[in-house]
Structures are given as C-alpha cells and as structure tokens.
Symmetry: C2
Subunit: 645 residues, 2 copies
C-alpha cells in the first residue's frame, strides 16, 4: 500500500483533471498561501503563519507580543496547504515554492517544544492546558494533519525535516498516551489515519500501535469526555460532552453500526479504522467498517456523494433523511468519504467502493470549488432557492453562490490536497495487478514494479473511451501484469478490446481483469455506455418521492434557472421522454456536455393553493453537470425533478 | 363589534363543536387547572398559582419563601385558563368552578401593587427591574392576557373584580407610557389587542389611545431595543436586539409589508392593528393589515392554516418556504391567524377572511389537541416520519405523537379559550345583518337586536347541509334581518333555499345575503358541494411540486401509515383517479368520514439509488382528516402526496 509513491510516479495528462492540476498549482495554492499569510484584501484573516511565528518567538525568548488568533485548530490549515504544495512539487518542480515551504517547515520546527510537543494554540495561549480537553481542543487533529503533510513532503520532495519534527511529536504523543497511560481519544478523529501513514512511511511500529490504540479505546469508556470536563472544566465551544451519538463514542468502534455525529470526523475515523483493519488483518474491525460504509451509502449519502444532512452539528442525522435544500453536505465530508472508500478497496476489492469515490469526486467535491479556483462552497445543497437559500434562518449555511474564503478554512485546502494526490485513489498496485479505479488521464511510472510505464488516454468523464498504452523500459519488450479496470455500475454495457478485438478478461466484483505481457504496440480500449439516464431514490427518502435526477457517465446533472427561463420549480420530467446529450461544448463552463430532456412546465398561477391543476405545457429542460452549478450567478438549481407521464 | 356578547348569547348545539365544548368543560379545563396547581403527576411543573401566592405574600409581609419558577411569562397561563373558564361558565353555569375562579382572582388582586402594577416574575424575582426589558420580559404580554381574561370574565359572569384589577394595571401602564412618556413597545405584542377589548368593554378611551400608542411607535425607532439593553443590560434569554426583522420593528407598522419574526407575536400584533384600524377608520393602517394578511395567506401559510415555517425563532422565514416535515406551525400561531382574520372581516366584509379562519380552525388548531383532550401538539407538521420526526436534530420540535404538557404551556389553554368562544368568530352582527361565518350548530339569542333567536342545525363539517331556523320572541311574528351566509371558496356549487325553493339572495364577496322577515316557519337551507377534491400548491413552493393534497368540505386530509400498510412514502395519487367519500363512521376517531383514492404503490427496493424505476402497482389509498392524525400511535403521516397518471 505504498499509496503516496503513486502520486510521485504519476504524471497527470491533458484530460479533465489536467486542467484541475494546473488550476491547483497556478491559482488555488498561491491564493491559499496568500490567505495563510493574511495577504488577501477583504478576506477573513487567517493568521496561521503568524501563530507559528509567535509560538517560535515565545519558545526562544519566553514571551511574544500579540495574541493567538483563529480557530483552536488553525494550525491544520498550514498543514493541509503544505500537503497540497508537496503534491504539486511532485508534479511540477518549483524551486521558489519549495524554498518557501522549507521556510515554513523551519518555522514549524522553531515552534516545537523540546519534548516534541507542537501546537501554537497551546504554546501561545494555553501553555498549561495541554491534553486536558481532547473533546474540543483538537490537538490530536492538528498533529494528524501535520503528520500527513510531513509524510507527503518527505515522499514528494525527499526532504525529511518536517518528518523529523512530526516523528518527535508522534513520539511525544506515544509517551503521553501509551507509556504514561493517559486516558482518552480525540474529539475530532484524524490522528488515526495520519499515524498509519506515518507508520507506512517510517516503518516504526509504534505509530501503528498508537493509531490502533486511539481506535481501540474509543467508546470503551463512553463517559470519558464527561469525566474529562469534570476534571478540567475549561471549554472551547461548550460542546455537549454527554452526547455520545454526536461524539461517536456510543460504543466501542467495533460495535458501532450507524454513521453518526459530525460527518467529517466520522469518515476520518472510519478511514483510520479501515486502514488499520487492512494493515493488521483485523476482521472484526473490517466487519465494522463494512457495516458503517453500507449504512452511509445505503441510507445517509446524497446522490452527489455528499454526506451530512444537517447544519446542526455539521452532522449525519437519521437513516433516509436526505433533505436537498438544507443539506450540509460539506465538501470536506465528501473528501473524507473518498478517503474511507479508498481504504475499503484495500480491505475488499470491490468496484462499489471506487464507484462511491467517483460519485463523491465528480459531483460533491468538484462542486466545492468555483470552476476558476477562486471561490469555495463548504455546503453543497442539491437544491438552491434564491430568496430562501442563504437567507432563511434554516438556510443560512446553504449559500446559493460561493464566497471567497472562510474564517474556518478547512475545505479549500482539502480540495487542493485531494486534487493534487488523485493518483493515490485512481491507481492501486497489488502484487501483479494494476487497478485502475478512477480514470485520470496521464502516465504512471511502474518501472520498478512492472518494468515500464502505463499511459491512460481519455477524455473521461465527457467521453466513455479509455485507452491504456504501455511503455516497457528500454531493453524490455513487454510488461507482465494484470490490468484491472473498474466497471462502473452506471455503465450498463462496457466493451473491452485488446488491439481492436474483444479482450480476454475476467469480470469480478466490479473489475475487469486483463492479464498479459504488454508491449509498446498493445492498446487496451474500454468503452463505457455514456447514455444519459434517470436515477431514482428509494421511496424511504421523503424528499425525493416522485422525482428523478439525470446522470451521464459519472456525472449527476442539475437544472439551473439560467438555462431554464429562471424557473426550475415549475418543471417536470416526462417519464419516458427522450434525453439528448449535447456535443462537447468547450467554451461553456470550461468544457461540458449538456443534457436536454423532454419535460413540462406548469404555468405559474398567482394563488398559493388552488383546486385546479395548473396548465401544463411540454418543454425542453436543459441540464448541466452538478459540479458546474452556481458558476453563472445567483439562480435556482435543482437536482431532483418531479416526473410525470 | 360587541363580539363577546355573542359568546354569552350563543348556546352550542349537538353538532361537531358540541363535542368539543363538552371536552373543554369536562376534560381540558379541569386538567389545565390541575396543571396550574402542580397536581399532575409526571407532568412538567407549572407553579403558576404558586407564583401569585408568593407575590401576594411578599406584598403583604415584605418577603416570601421560595423562588419564582417558570417562564418569565408564566402568569399568562393563569390568564388564558381564566379566560377559557369564563367562556365555559357562560355556557354552563358551575358554582364550584366560578368559586375557584373567584378565589384565583382574589389572589391575583392580592398580588397587585398599590400603583396597579401586576406581574409575579417582577414582584417576586426582579422588583427593581420593572419596564427595563420590554424586549424580552413580556410584562405587557402578561398584562394583555390578563386583561383579556378580565374582559371575558366580566362579560360572561357579570363579575367585575378582575376587570377592576386589570383596569388599575392598564391605568398604571397608561401613566408610565403616556403620561410619563416612557419609550418603547412590547417584544411580544398582545397588549394592543387586549387594550382594544378593554376599551370596548369599559368605554374608556384611554385604553384605545394606549393600544394605538403601542401600534404607532413600533418600529419608528427601530433601535429602541438596542438602546434599551445598553441602558439596562439584563437579559432573559439574550435574544438579539439588533435583529429588526425578527423583532418586527424593521419599519413603522404602516410600512411593514412582510409577515416576519415570531409567528404568534406577528399575528397578535396584526390583530391589534386590524382592530384599531376598524375602530378608528384608519385607512393607512387598514391597508398595511391587508398587505400583511395577503403576504401570509399567499406566501407563508400551510394548507392547514398553519403559519411559521421554522423552529428557529418559532418564526416565519421567507416567501414560499413551506417545508412539511420541519414546519413549526405552532397551534397558537394558527389561533392568532384566526384572531387576525376575524378582525379583518370587520375591516372588509369578504368571505376570504372567514375561509382562512375555517382553514386554520378545522385543520391546524384542532390537530393541536388529542381527540380525547388530554394531550397537545405545539408543532403541527404536515408530514411525520417515525425515526426522523422528533429525533433528528433538525426535527426535535416536530414530534410525531402528542406529549402530555409542556414547560411552556401556551398552546393548550389557547385552544381551550378559542373553542370556548367560537361564537365570536362564527357570528358577526353588523347593523341589520347577521353574518354566519363559521357553521357551528347551536342557538344564537338575538332578542335585543332582532327580536328573537336564530338556530343553526347542521352536521357540518361532515355534512354540507345547513338549516337556519328562527324563533321570534313571544308576541312577535317575525324577525326582520338580513342573513348573510359565507359561501366557502371550496364549495363549487352552493344551493340556497328558503322553505324548499331557491332563495332570493345576493351573492357578494363570498357571502350570500338573504333579506327577510323570518317567522317560526321559515327555514333557510344551504347545501354545499362536499365532493372530495385535490388541492395543488403553486410551483413557487419547492416542497410540494408534483404533489396534491385532498380536501373535503373544509377538511384537509392526510394519509397515515396505520391505514396504509405502514408506508405512505411509497404511495402516489392517480391524477384523474376516483376519490370516494366514506359513510360517516361514528366509531372511528370520534366520528369521521374517510376518503379512498385511487393511487399507486412503489415496491420498495433495497438500493438507495437505482437506474430502474421501482415497480408500481395500483392500490387504494385511505385518507383521514388531518386534525385526527397521530391519535392511533406512532406512524407515518403525509398531507402532500406525489401524483402520477
């Protein structure tokens, strides 16, 4: 599972994600770097870097001027940015950027205590309160993100300084929780998955042990947070220590069977659990992960791969409660679902996990960012109602257009680091098999493993054709391997050819396995069925009864007012009507295909209630990919549209 | 507008509301009396009466033991109960009940300060803070309710003691706000409508002046609450003084054009405004009332007559935002909408106002009480989803079954006082015309006015036939008058007969005016069209697109799981299918008619999302009147059902 190696060994090509790769490099990372340094006029102050400077000064001189500013977990923004920058450096060497990263890393080192402890909030503001509020103070969460950054930076640049810093912090945590036996588990899981990455990177088994420790003790004493606050009554927000469902400690994790509480925390926890289960062959833990993954994907996930039905607590609610206009559907949570599903693939090689990764990536996650990379959504509703969305007291979170930056800036850098490390999700290598999970055009260097490179040429997701080509290294004629291509559940008919003829392959659990010794002349061509189709929700879900959504390839579509006479609420889809896929439109929304569906429009009556059905006229409804919504100003948007005959 | 006289002069007959009248007398009032006296085991403590005892003792002796308990507006529960008891006494003389009321009234008198001031919260708990927190402390609200009780008790029993007490309090308020020029207006309107009742009862014009004062100054200084809290920073809940929309002071009331903020406060305010406009022929104020009434009924009212779309603030949200499962739809707010609409009828004799009274009464208000009178809903959603309703963090308020009693017990006594004074809404007398707005069976004594009595015989709302009979007083042969019967908008065809032949009448603005000199042999018969029909919502309302509800007479119907295989979410109505009205079923739900509609049921698939439409089978859907829902245990309920061909 040398997943990060894949990021380094993969060169993103010219396709769909090529544009995103450049956007992250040229726009998103520089913008976020400025934000971290408080150089963006009119945006909320970050103060991230300044917090590190203050902590460093305090450690050096015994005091510092000014005050810690920002969230208790402000450090993590630097970590996520560094991680994103590391991935970008792996693709695009940039001496200047690397120098600035190194400077920040030096500063981080200066903010580290001699005993390895690192957290600017505590160093600057609460030096006596270390480890006394695991419930809210997010020390372990910040450590986790910085460990991830350290691993990424080491793998991508070869430079070990941040890794040393974070190993010292991990050692500190190990001493505190293992050797000294401190009780407790993190309020915001993240450290678990990070320590497992650190273990894979360093080989130090204590980090795996520590990750398993946090997983194993969670919920064993479900009153831990209550006892903690009795001992140390200081609070960050005053969150409810007794809400065991919300705190995800209602049972030991192996007995948990519902995805509950803060959605990002949940999927970060489950990612660590799945990774630990795969690494240590823990079948009981693996079974719990499957139960939780099934609970999410069968009862608590939007069709866009978004999770978290409620603003209240940024959280899961109850089975089959998926309101469209008030969804929380946080970008970070969809990213976390990708992390979790990716780890599930290592536990069980089944295409359904990659199907969910794809669903979340192409729909919720991409919608989280304006197409030009300068604005972001935290919340990704499936229906926007100007005048209500972002305005009614029930919809303050559900903005109908993306704002610039946030006081709590977790989502933007999370998008950057995910897009920068797509190879880790797109490709898996297990023994003699190369798994192609997500179809990102580019070149994967497998010289060490299979003696050559594999290229994927495709205009996916706007074209259903994948072409895998092979470049054996000099002196070799072929690459002996099995290429395993995911067969997405949405493609009803998939053709797989080898050099123009039907390929000999085995289809198993959502993958087509094609064995061979591939030469430079070989081409594996895969053709998916890109017919536009209707999606239906189980009638268990009240919000979508009587409605359908449209999907084409992996893309969920939506109807926006701007394409539909500024009124999508009066539209209905004709049940068996035709759906036409447009030509590729390179100049619209950075290149899309639209869908045109037969439907009806009700003529709007003035009366709120009436006994007479409104007049209904046939019309054509225009749909655009959901991820492109709200890029053309304020207007109505709807994914689920009523159907009629 | 001697409206309360109607309550005294009307004797409820055996019909639909006869049962409710007895229920209020035999169950609701005794139960609530016990609750006020903390005699109900397992229910939340009220402490209402005890607060008065403590205040009385403190005034007498200078101190009292114990502490004030309950909401800052706890006094109002006593007031509402007394008002309900007064109406009951008008119908059913009951010496014991009257004696107990008199005792409470004596106690109230003992809790009054020499200067007329009356409020147990301030007397017991905050003696130095009178009139320093109009925004939150609800002194004027409590005074308003007790004034209403005083007027009712005087009109219904002839006893003036409570009236004297409350005149002294009103005089105190007059001195403070008019003579001494204290600034401000109530955070929770109610005093306005109460003072206008007091003016009508006593003829003292200062009370009308004071009511108009509170109406006129509202929103003239929209920063009043801000200034108030700067001067006196104590808070009850810490409500936002700067939220002018929520505080209903975003403009002087004559310039307000959207119904906003706390829904009960809003309609109480508008009731006072409409009453003042009618009393003083204030055309500008009348115009504002019409604008606000139209805004509510065309953009912010549920089909059940419920208002208030959000739990957050118990408030209105934005135009055309009417979610079904998360509605707040407070019983008290629907009652307030009846108050408001009733006053609008005096401003403009148009049946649409009475149509809305009827909609709110037969649907939302009646649903607020268990059919046996022992349990109550605050919140009346239009969809209940067991497992989500009352459980998800977004649905904690939207309980799927009625609880016993509430810490904030505003709705139960409000239902009691409304049901006890229905005559005030059912009948209006203006010059030579008797308006029959709501069709409550019984006998109205109009001897003083028209020289006799009018009887209404009907099994409405389960039968569309009304029979008006006349009983001239001894020595008179006929009653010269115009009978004006409302023609409900839902009745497409209405027949009006006089002694079996088509009556000569003028139809105008929703009323049929039938002139005559009525003798004991005359019968006016009105037959409404009781065909069950579909209701549609404007497509402006996202929640109901593609859906229909069923209505029969004034009753909105709903489908409950208990009648429909425990699953109403998979049901759809056949667009032009037949709807059958059952025979009257005296033994079901205290007597109802059911509706049986042709529809379809989707077979439930396991998958959350699928590309294949579920299998759909024809079925019959059973509907019961909305007001009877949740009387047969926990189950799904839905008013709006998707339609298909």
């Amino acid at each position: 599972m040398g997943d990060l190696k894949l990021v380094k060994d993969f060169t993103v090509g010219e396709g769909f994600f090529g544009r995103y790769e450049k956007l992250v490099r040229d726009v998103v990372l520089p913008y976020q770097e400025k934000a971290l340094n408080d150089q963006i006029e009119g945006a909320e102050k970050s103060h991230c870097i300044e917090n590190f400077r203050m902590a460093a000064k305090k450690l050096k001189t015994g005091s510092c001027e000014g005050e810690f500013y920002g969230m208790v977990f402000q450090d993590s923004d630097v970590a996520k940015w560094l991680e994103g920058a590391a991935y970008s450096l792996a693709q695009n060497p940039d001496e200047e950027l690397e120098r600035r990263c190194d400077e920040i890393i030096e500063l981080i080192g200066e903010a580290q205590h001699e005993d390895g402890y690192l957290n600017t909030y505590f160093t600057v503001k609460e030096p006596d309160k270390r480890w006394t509020n695991l419930h809210e103070a997010h020390e372990l969460y910040c450590a986790g993100h910085m460990i991830e950054a350290a691993v990424a930076y080491a793998e991508c640049t070869g430079k070990k300084r941040l890794l040393e810093i974070m190993c010292a912090m991990a050692d500190h945590i190990y001493r505190h929780f293992i050797e000294e036996g401190a009780e407790g588990y993190p309020g915001h899981p993240e450290i678990e998955l990070a320590l497992l990455r650190l273990y894979r990177c360093t080989g130090d088994e204590r980090y795996q042990e520590l990750a398993r420790h946090f997983i194993d003790v969670r919920g064993v004493d479900p009153d831990f947070y209550k006892k903690e606050v009795e001992k140390n009554p200081w609070r960050v927000w005053g969150n409810n220590v007794g809400d065991k469902i919300y705190n995800q400690n209602y049972a030991p994790v192996r007995k948990q069977d519902k995805a509950v509480g803060h959605a990002v925390r949940a999927v970060y926890l489950y990612t660590g659990m799945a990774d630990a289960a795969a690494q240590t062959k823990d079948t009981e833990l693996a079974a719990a992960c499957k139960t939780l993954w099934n609970n999410i994907t069968q009862h608590r996930m939007y069709v866009t791969g978004a999770i978290g039905s409620a603003y209240e607590g940024e959280a899961f609610t109850k089975d089959d409660h998926l309101p469209n206009d008030t969804a929380y559907a946080e970008t970070c949570a969809a990213i976390g679902l990708i992390f979790f599903s990716n780890k599930m693939l290592y536990l069980e090689r089944d295409g359904k996990y990659a199907d969910v990764m794809e669903r979340a990536l192409y729909n919720c996650v991409l919608a989280g960012m304006q197409l030009d990379g300068t604005k972001f959504f935290y919340v990704n509703p499936l229906e926007a109602l100007p005048g209500i969305s972002g305005e009614a007291q029930t919809h303050r979170h559900a903005l109908p257009v993306r704002p610039k930056w946030f006081a709590c800036a977790c989502c933007p850098p999370n998008v950057a680091r995910l897009l920068g490390s797509l190879a880790e999700y797109a490709w898996h290598v297990e023994e003699e098999t190369l798994f192609s999970n997500l179809f990102v055009a580019g070149t994967l260097d497998l010289t060490a493993r299979f003696g050559g490179k594999v290229e994927l040429h495709t205009d996916y997701p706007y074209d259903g054709k994948l072409e895998y080509r092979f470049m054996p290294e000099k002196g070799k004629t072929g690459m002996k391997m099995t290429l395993a291509v995911r067969m997405p559940a949405w493609s009803e008919k998939t053709d797989i050819c080898r050099n123009g003829k039907a390929a000999d392959c085995e289809i198993k659990n959502g993958y087509a396995y094609i064995q061979g010794t591939y030469t430079a002349d070989d081409v594996i061509t895969v053709m998916f069925d890109m017919t536009a189709k209707r999606v239906y929700t189980s009638s268990r879900v009240s919000a979508n009864t009587g409605k359908a959504a449209l999907q084409c390839g992996p893309l969920i579509y939506c109807a926006e007012g701007v394409d539909n006479e500024n009124d999508v609420l009066s539209l209905s889809l004709k049940r068996d009507g035709e759906i036409t896929v447009s030509d590729f439109l390179p100049d619209e929304l950075f290149g899309i295909r639209k869908l045109f569906a037969q439907g009806y429009r009700e003529t709007a009556g003035e009366e709120l209630y009436s006994f007479d059905r409104q007049e209904i006229k046939p019309c054509q409804i225009t749909f655009v990919p959901y991820y492109t919504w709200a890029n053309r100003g304020l207007n109505q948007m709807r994914v689920w549209i009523p159907e009629r005959d």
